[in-house]
Amino acid sequence: MMARRSIEPLVWILFSVGGVVAAMFVPVLLFLFGFAYPLGWLASPSHAHLVAVVGHPLVRVLLFFLCTLCLLHAAHRFRYTLYDGLQLQHLQELILLVSYGGAIVGSVAAGVILWQFG
């Protein structure tokens, strides 16, 4: 007899890993590209330098993981925001589709953008 396996533990692990990644890397990236460079607090790096950085295959793989893990983390948390905050447990299927479906669509978009880079 096959035991029924649940995907929940995997989803929680991805949530945690994504939470660590988001906490470690998003603040500095948002500070630099959201404020420091656009508003001229710091001299913005040249286009050539950033293309050289992102053009490195390892950087692109890491950026893909950054995007995917952050999106899965966000999707999981958003799912529970709707369940607990707004008490929408009865819309379970729709919420799962919107949250994880959105994360998957976003990850595919990230993959395409990073793959076609340069």
Partner: protein
């Protein structure tokens, strides 16, 4: 399904289900903090969208990169990013402070103190931030 549930029976038990207000989380700071932390998810998703626009602009050439920086400097985007930054910092700090409860590390028979684990997380945060700064602005 719903017809099954609503079918009339003579001795239908009445369930005790107290109604919870949709705004239950406004009553206490701890539950408000919980919901604010949950809401950080929307802003992390926004950041990934913002970041992917940057990568796309970089791939499209120098002019597109300049255009992206000008777009990012427009008032609406700056305000949205300001709110995002506050939520992301709130996520990071609460995440690191919770780490000792999620990670129980034993050294021999002794349990490492929580402050040490939280401290290690903050130290890793500093290293990650310095690393990104060094790579991006070199």
């Amino acid at each position: 399904m719903s017809t099954e549930r609503n079918r009339y029976t003579e001795f239908r038990p009445r369930w005790y289900r107290p109604r919870m207000s949709t705004w239950w989380w406004l009553k206490r700071w701890s539950s408000l903090a919980f919901i604010l932390r949950e809401l950080s998810s929307i802003f992390i998703a926004w950041f990934i969208y913002f970041f992917l626009r940057l990568i796309h602009a970089l791939g499209s050439g120098d002019a597109a990169y300049r255009e992206f920086l000008a777009w990012a400097a427009s008032p609406g985007i700056v305000v949205l990013n300001g709110i995002t930054f506050a939520f992301v910092l709130f996520h990071a700090v609460t995440w690191f402070n919770l780490a000792p409860q999620a990670m129980v590390v034993h050294l021999g028979s002794k349990r490492l103190p929580g402050a040490l684990i939280a401290g290690a997380n903050y130290a890793a945060w500093v290293v990650a931030t310095a690393l990104v700064l060094w790579i991006v602005s070199r």
